[in-house]
Amino acid sequence: MFSIIESFRSALQSIRAHSFRSFLTSLGIIIGVASVIAVVSMVQGLSASISTQFKGMGANSLSVNAYTPFEEALQGKENVLGLKDYETIVTHIDDISHVSPQFGPFGPFGANVRHAGQSSVTRVRAVTAAFEHANQVVPAQGRFFSAGDDASRRRVCFVGSKVLENLKLTGNPLGQFIEVNSEWFKIIGVGEERGETLGISRDDYVLIPFSVGRAIAGTDTKLNISISFTVNDLEQLEAVQGRLTTLLRRTHQLKPGQPNDFKVETSQEMMETFDSIIAMMTLVLGGIVSVSLLVGGIGIMNIMLVSVTERTREIGICKALGAQRHHILLQFLIEATMLSLLGGLIGLVLGYGLGFGASKMIPGFPEAVVPWWAVVMAFGFSSMVGILFGIMPAAKAANLNPIDALRYE
């Protein structure tokens, strides 16, 4: 116990005595820890920002989309979900609410929107009134369209704030008309601002009533609808998922063994998929940069070996004065560990700065988050590196023969 405190004191003294050399020795660890922390903090920041968006979707919501397996896509097939599927779900599945189908009446990508000579391309989706609750849309101005609007095929729309900005539509937008692919719509509501994800605005959309969308798309067009709904009882989530799968397989007349041509996903599942991607990304990037920690450790071992040779005589003196093997071993081991830990500390601060700086510099990138486990890991790793790479030099020092060490010039 006693000798440990003494070893700390003597290690500090020796690090101070060669402060520049100590700094260069730790540089490998500093860079290693700094890059680990910077990378982890940026990936975690990204993950945190996307997770909050998923949480907004609610744990009890399910969505059904058409799904084309890769082999079938290669054969030029494209599976779709039609209106019939929507009706089947509404009539056959109980215990669900807010069934909200949606599709792009002007194609899956976007449509041209015009107002007073200004034009812009935006995402146009035809949705029912249930969309407001299923997707937690909050009107900042006006209102969302009602079931009545849908039933009477009123040509109204609900828009995101970015659309107004793109169309230079200033002043009160309610009651104004915009032209979408030569169809006219009256604005009855504007959504609350939702910001950006990865530089893409989440307020660049136009929503129109489902029935209007159907009329525009016509009867011949093969619609591809995606349907989202909420399950009344969260416990029933998996059961509903199973029933839905069986139902759709039957109506699509899929043979046993044939893959599903649709996908039923819970927001939980989507989040889990996303989480596993982030975890993999953290692991791979962290793994790559932690190689630099290894290099840093080798640097420490190198300098410690030099230091042992340099201080051979000193070790001889200490042994003559009665130092035991463990005194010498501890002294060098603690010195190596302290070098490494100091490097880790500086690296942590540097990595923090780097991560936050970089995420600020990249436009649209969410703020960096440094999780506590990354800090613990950085310290754990750097002390482990110090101990691991300090053992050999320390053992070399401890095993010196006092007579030879005293005679060393």
Binding site: F2, G316, G322, H327, P402
Partner: protein, 240 residues
């Protein structure tokens, strides 16, 4: 332990080295006894075996054959860590080239052996200051070795040796790196320590230095060639 029991008892000590396939006998059957408060010189030319003798007596090395009893303990069969403990408790080394820790102050140097004994810091400092005062360096505590003269450095080394209250002060050519005036001062210090009851062993090749001692053991080819009481000290011996 009776007063008659010698502090050091060497019985048939031999040390052999393997050197390039050839066996070299550095020591070849040494029998020797050193009593408490003795003041003894090991003299001999280079290659006589006196360095090996000092290493074995100082517990830095173990003999190939023979028995070594130090303060009643059998040293010859000790493990490395027991040897280290024995060095710490029984031996105070003084070297020709001082062997101070260059980055530590005089006080820290003197405290060093007490660290290995597990003495508390406050007690350590108190004893080290006391030892520095004994060698007349109480006002040099905070100096680094390179801020001290050769004689002062050797005094720090002596204080370091004294500080752990060893049974034996073991000095290896203690005046070899000093001018004659300073050397005389250092030897006078040894004389004083001896008169205060300290057992002192000096390893040297200089007859002048050996003349300070009560007893001279001359080594030659790994054997004791002569073991005499210093004539100049005879009267003093008679009074003991």
């Amino acid at each position: 332990m009776s007063q008659a029991e010698p502090l050091i008892r060497l019985e048939g000590i031999a040390k052999h080295y393997q050197m390039g396939g050839e066996m070299i006998a550095a020591l070849n059957g040494i029998d020797l006894q050193v009593m408490r408060n003795d003041y003894i010189a090991f003299i001999g030319s280079s290659g006589s075996g006196k360095s090996t003798m000092m290493n074995i007596v100082g517990c830095l090395d173990t003999p190939t054959h023979g028995k070594y009893y130090l303060n009643g303990h059998d040293v010859a069969g000790m493990s490395e860590s027991d040897l280290a403990r024995t060095r710490n408790e029984e031996i105070g080394f003084i070297f020709q080239s001082f062997n101070l820790l260059t980055r530590a102050t005089a006080l820290q140097n003197v405290m060093q052996p007490l660290i290995y004994r597990g003495v508390r810091p406050a007690e350590r400092a108190r004893r080290a200051k006391e030892a520095l005062a004994r060698v007349g360096l109480e006002n040099r505590q905070g100096h680094l070795p390179n801020q001290l003269s050769g004689g002062q450095r050797q005094r720090v080394a002596i204080a370091r040796a004294l500080c752990s209250e060893p049974s034996i002060l073991l000095a290896d050519e203690p005046t070899g790196n000093l001018d004659s005036t300073t050397a005389a001062d250092i030897m006078a210090l040894f004389d004083t320590l001896h008169s205060e009851g300290q057992t002192v062993i000096v390893v040297t090749h200089e007859p002048d230095i050996a003349a300070h001692c009560r007893r001279s053991v001359r080594l030659h080819d790994g054997r004791v060639q002569s073991d005499v009481i210093n004539p100049a000290r005879l009267r003093e011996v008679a009074s003991v």
